[in-house]
């Protein structure tokens, strides 16, 4: 009966070396108020100077999201009072943003859907408040850390084209992947370098008009995005079904209670009194500069996915998993340089590698195992030097220590036993020691064979070449 309409506003911290209007560092995690200067503190008499890299990164984002890039744009002042805003105005972009009219594709159940991107603009981040209580009005003291103030942001606003929380999550995931691919941001929601607000409303299916929307803030993970949107849909449905109206308001997601609560209503909304920033000149992106930026665009996730499928013959699922994270995709391609079986490499990465990375919450870049080493290990399996089973243990060791597989195998004597004579010796021994199993086997119980294989593996500490064991065992039993 009802249709959900969702739009997302995503703020992304750009990983430029210095802030947007001054030379202070943007490094995350520094001691409070150590990355500040008169400019980002809003001292009397200071002036902003625009960081050119910020414009480049924003244009790169616009190009990768199929936007039109404005040849002429400007900055504006957004005026309001709050302790995290030193100048009592934020320098942002109002009516002439750098990028407009783009799109991002997401996959729904059966099709590819285009989600419109209304605009992308640059602005400065506010500082960080730490309240003694829950909110500023519930605290005797509030501490302000100005390190974050002035860090460059781009704000990416989507059209209200999303129709479900799942689509919203997919949109955000794809957006994050692209931004990481073009390397303009770390996109870490847990560090605040990727932030998301959702606008959500519902309407009767088939209606052209939009329902009243609420804005949801304090979404700090993909999971909470899904939960918060799901909750809102229910809340709004219940209100409408009870014959009540939806109030246009900003609500905050309370993760502890799993609900949204009102933050401020439209009546209390600020009048930002936007006017063009007189301390900065306009931004002109000419075709030469735009072309240079376009040339610097790396292969984007979609294209990489397609290439993995076509060139390497990988199934769609594999291609998607591998390209979700740029680091992982690079790892895969590195590994392929010395191990030429894309599907097997993909399997290994998806099963063993990702599992260990997840357990340790480790990004690919921090892995002690280098792609060449993984390739070496897989080559060793190919050549029969170790069994697949042993390789898994070796890999866990490699993951912890970063040692080469050859080293580990040598140290621990894990080499696969493929000496047929040696194997025959052990196999014959097992046959002699297990007359009941032999009997069962000839009686037609296949399980007995497996049991004997298990005994052989036990004798050889799992290092016996399984194919050879099978062959020799069967032939030995025949002889008997």
């Amino acid at each position: 009966m009802y249709e959900t309409v969702i739009g997302l506003e995503v703020h992304v911290e750009l990983k430029t070396k210095s802030k947007i209007f001054c030379g202070c560092s943007t490094e995350f995690g520094a001691k409070a108020n150590t990355q500040v200067c008169p400019v980002c503190l809003g001292m009397p008499g200071v002036l902003p100077v625009l960081n050119k890299k910020v414009v480049e990164y924003a244009v790169l984002a616009g190009v990768s999201l199929n936007c039109k890039i404005a040849g002429y744009s400007k900055l504006d002042r957004k005026n309001y009072f709050y302790p995290d805003l030193p100048k009592a105005y934020q320098i942002s972009q109002y009516d002439l943003p750098l990028c407009q009219d783009g799109y991002l594709e997401i996959e729904t159940e059966n099709t590819v859907k285009r989600i419109g991107i209304t605009r992308i603009h640059i602005e400065e981040d506010a500082s960080k408040l730490t309240h003694e209580g829950d909110t500023i009005s519930q605290s005797e003291t509030t501490l302000v850390d100005f390190n974050r103030g002035g860090v460059p942001l781009i704000e990416i606003v989507s059209e209200p084209d999303l129709r479900s929380p799942e689509e919203a999550v997919e949109y955000l995931a794809n957006l994050k992947a692209i931004l990481q691919y073009i390397d303009i941001s770390d996109c870490k929601m847990e560090e605040g370098s990727l932030r998301c607000d959702g606008n959500i409303s519902i309407r009767l299916r088939g209606s052209e008009d939009y329902g009243t929307r609420s804005e949801i803030k304090n979404i700090n993970s993909f999971k909470t995005l899904q939960k918060a949107l799901e909750y809102e849909i229910e809340r709004q449905k219940n209100l409408l079904n009870a014959g009540e109206r939806i109030i246009q308001e900003t609500r905050t997601w309370d993760d502890g209670r799993g609900i949204t609560l009102p933050l401020r209503s439209k009546e209390e909304a600020h009048d930002y009194r936007y006017f063009p920033e007189p301390d900065l000149v306009s931004i002109k992106v000419d075709n030469k500069w735009l072309d240079r930026i376009k040339l610097s665009l790396p292969e984007l996730p979609e294209a990489k996915r397609a290439r993995f499928i076509e060139t390497f013959g990988l199934p769609v699922y594999d291609a998607e998993v591998l390209t979700k994270d740029k680091g992982l995709a690079q790892y895969f391609e590195e590994g392929l340089k010395t191990y030429n079986n894309p599907k097997k490499l993909s399997n290994w990465i998806m099963a063993d590698f990702l599992r260990l990375l997840n357990v340790e919450q480790m990004p690919v870049s921090k892995s002690l195992v280098k792609p060449e080493q993984m390739a070496e290990l897989l080559n060793m399996i190919e050549k029969g030097i170790i069994s697949g089973k042993i390789a898994k243990d070796v890999f866990e060791n490699m993951f912890k220590t970063g040692k080469d597989p050859y080293e580990i195998v040598k140290e621990q004597g894990l080499g696969q036993i493929s000496d047929e004579n040696k194997l025959k010796e052990i196999i014959d021994k097992v046959i002699v020691n297990n007359p009941k199993s032999v009997e069962d086997y000839f009686a037609g119980k296949e399980k007995a064979l497996g049991y004997m294989v298990g005994q052989i593996m036990k004798e050889t500490k799992g290092q016996a070449n399984p194919q050879l064991v099978n062959t020799i065992l069967k032939s030995s039993l025949k002889i008997n």
Partner: protein
């Protein structure tokens, strides 16, 4: 003649010839401040000890070095809205009464590099809003020519200190006439450079698109010397221009034969004091006698410049002054239960009446529903004013007008009538609106009070108005007159 009576050029000569030491000069002017500033009240803070220390250091250096930078050892004073590291910058306001700046304004860095001597910080209308210096939160400065009169504003302290020989030069700031009008009231030279000629980094902003720092001096040549030092592009100010700095001092002596001077008729309205008009017209005739071609012209949108200014400037000011919220520096109200109360009481108690008036006006004209009708429209009027001047400059090299409709008025006369106070800026505002350079130079007296002649020039063509002012100045002897600073 005491040392403090001389001009920069005269002191430069004496220092070069080793006739005097920098300490001599500094001691002399500090003594002068001690004697006359109790009456003039130009200084908010005198940094006497530091000045003498700096003087001694330069004297030691001078004996070993042969070449002196032009302003080496020249004692100066700075309007109190320019930041100096380690010294209070109050902007004439309670809200910054104890604010010590942690950095130097770019112009201060440049003057320090030349080893000019800092005498102290000068009184001003609070946050540069005013035309009489009566809006200072601390005290009123008096006109050295008649202590019952205002020195003009907002750079009243700057003009009065130079006029009373309490400094060899001062820096002021000009948003709607705040250098030129007090210079004309006090009988000294005041120059507002082209917008973008001098860096605004470190100047506490009033109206960002109008503010400029400029010199107030005893002579035109002195102004040229100071301008050469403070002008130039600054990487810390995106609005400063990438245009080479002229050799203003050298260009002074070019002469004005064939100079095309326009006299816009809109600057001679009925409000203009007839004696002022008389004096100014005599100055025009004087230029003509030196070979300039003087002719009447028209700038039709002049009358609208003032109203547009009093929309644009307060609008920008309302935003620029929002940072004074008691959170990080400056005054904070001692008792407040919540954030909003802290903001309200801090600003209510910290700001003076005129500042609050302009913040309210500025907030109003930017607010939702009114932006188009007021701010946007005022910006369009600004373009018309600019176009008038561009058109005039196609025909003329510079324009000649009175600096102010009146001479200095009485202390207390206009303070309760803001609108009549605003009219004092009638002739100076257009130059700020168009961003063009303008200079005020003494051209006579009316009822014993100085009259100022204004010359406006093309963008970045300070050289032309300086040489015209110089030619006029040298052909007369107004610059030789000094006030006697009697009660």
């Amino acid at each position: 003649m005491e040392l403090y009576n001389y001009t920069i050029t005269e002191i430069q000569d004496k220092l070069k010839s080793n006739e005097i030491s920098v300490t001599d000069v500094t001691k002399s002017v500090l003594k002068r401040i001690e004697k006359s500033d109790s009456k003039v009240k130009a200084y908010i803070e005198v940094t006497g000890e530091k000045a003498l220390q700096a003087a001694k250091e330069i004297d030691d250096e001078i004996h070993s070095e042969k070449k002196l930078s032009p302003l080496a050892g020249i004692p100066m004073a700075i309007k109190d809205n320019m930041c100096i590291d380690g010294i209070k910058t109050t902007c004439g306001s309670k809200i910054l009464e104890n604010f010590v700046s942690p950095y130097n304004a770019t112009v201060i860095e440049k003057l320090n590099a030349q080893k000019a001597i800092l005498l102290g910080k000068l009184n001003m209308d609070e946050f540069a809003m005013g035309s009489s210096t009566e809006n200072s939160a601390f005290f009123k400065t008096c006109n050295p020519w008649d202590l019952k009169k205002v020195p003009g504003g907002s750079s009243g302290g700057s003009a009065a200190s130079v006029a009373s020989d309490e400094a060899f030069f001062a820096l002021g700031s000009d948003t709607g006439g705040s250098i030129r009008q007090p210079a004309s009231f006090c009988g000294v030279v005041g120059l507002k450079p082209t917008y973008g000629r001098v860096s605004r980094y470190g100047l506490v902003a009033y109206a960002s698109s109008l503010d400029q720092i400029g010199p107030i001096t005893k002579s035109v040549e002195d102004a040229a010397i100071v301008l050469e030092t403070i002008a130039g592009q600054d990487p810390f100010d995106s609005t400063s221009a990438n245009i080479p700095v002229d050799n203003y001092r050298k260009n002074l002596k070019e002469g004005i034969k064939g100079l095309k001077v326009g006299i816009p008729k809109e600057y001679f309205p009925d409000e203009l004091n007839p004696q002022v008009k008389d004096v100014v017209m005599k100055a025009a005739a004087d230029l003509e006698s030196m070979g300039a071609l003087v002719e009447e012209c028209s700038l039709p949108h002049t009358e609208h410049a003032l109203t547009a200014y009093y929309i644009i400037a307060p609008a920008e000011a309302s935003s620029n002054l929002a940072r004074f919220d008691g959170v990080r520096y400056g005054y904070r109200t001692p008792v407040a239960d919540d954030l909003l109360t802290m903001y309200r009481k801090t600003r209510q108690e910290g700001f003076g009446t005129e500042v609050k008036r302009r913040i309210i006006m500025g907030t109003y004209v930017l607010s939702s529903g009114y932006y188009d009708a007021y701010y946007l429209r005022a910006l369009k009027v600004r373009t018309l004013v600019k176009n008038d001047l561009n058109k005039a400059f196609q025909k003329y090299d510079c324009l000649l007008t009175p600096t102010s409709p009146t001479v200095a008025f009485n202390l207390g006369e206009k303070i309760n009538d803001p609108l009549s106070m605003y009219l004092a800026d009638l002739f100076t505002i257009p130059a700020n609106m168009a961003g063009i350079p303008a200079i005020s130079v003494p051209c006579g007296f009316s009822n014993g009070l100085p009259v100022g002649l204004q010359l406006m020039g093309k963008p970045f063509d300070e050289s032309t108005i300086l040489k015209a002012a110089y030619a006029y100045e040298q052909n007369n002897s107004w610059y030789k007159s000094k006030p006697s600073i009697e009660d």
